[in-house]
Symmetry: C2
Subunit: 149 residues, 2 copies
């Protein structure tokens, strides 16, 4: 199964961004994401560790953003919930007695860093506000489609 944590995290952040002034409940977000509230709270826990959200327990508790959507880049969200490299190295260490086996990991490691950097750079080029803007644009396009049908 492809990891959907980032997709859900962006969804969560977008929900919070749309209601910047209220505290949003995990159950409300869960309904939109179509999952269990605990799944959302686990994500919010990661996002909190990254200082992207604050939550309050108890009656009238909930979560809100710590910053304006324009000040949150997607890289922060990605790093908050994603811990893997784009590709992994060998599960078991290759044969040290083989000329290639003994050096390939170093070469792949360098490549791994480069690829990861390219991804990070791309994620860093967008903010949460860009996602909101795009959401609005998509919504409008959908509206036009309905009208022109």
């Amino acid at each position: 199964m492809a990891n959907s944590q980032f997709a859900m995290a962006v969804h969560v952040m977008a929900m919070l961004a749309k209601n910047c002034d209220e505290r949003i409940k995990s159950s409300y977000i869960a309904k939109s994401v179509n999952t269990n509230a605990v799944v959302i709270r686990r994500l919010l826990s990661d996002l909190h560790e990254a200082n992207l959200v604050v939550s309050q327990t108890g009656y009238s508790g909930g979560t809100c953003l710590t910053r304006q959507p324009a000040d949150v880049c997607l890289l922060e969200i990605y790093e908050a919930v994603s811990h893997d490299n784009i590709f992994g190295l060998h599960a078991k260490e290759p044969d040290r007695d083989c000329e290639i086996g003994s050096t390939i990991t170093g070469v792949l490691g360098k490549l791994q860093v480069e690829i990861d950097e390219a991804v990070k750079q791309k994620f860093a080029s967008y903010t949460l506000q860009d996602v909101i803007d795009e959401l609005v644009k998509c919504k409008e396009e959908k509206g036009e489609k309905i009208l022109s049908e």
Copy 2:
């Protein structure tokens, strides 16, 4: 577990590149990669589908490259063994009745394509020969280290 298919595939291809004129046996590669020969043959099967290698069964059978290492880019290897996007979309479809839930997938899909493209572009910028060259460079550096110790 982070997927190590690409790492193993590059290792396999590098082994084949180092012995361009012979047919290499899966058991020989498996020893260097430190895994089972069947794991290697499964990888070779994917690489064959991508037209990167040819194998022969039977006595004195084995596998060799279809092209010179300089004519194989890492993107081809990556695409031969990797089928996932960098990040996945929602496991379950979000709530259609929610303004954000109904549009977020489209936005994330566009982002997904962009990120995947960035990765592909990076992989496309290297050839198997570059990996071989880097291997040689790393080996030399190791040698120097030993001498200077």
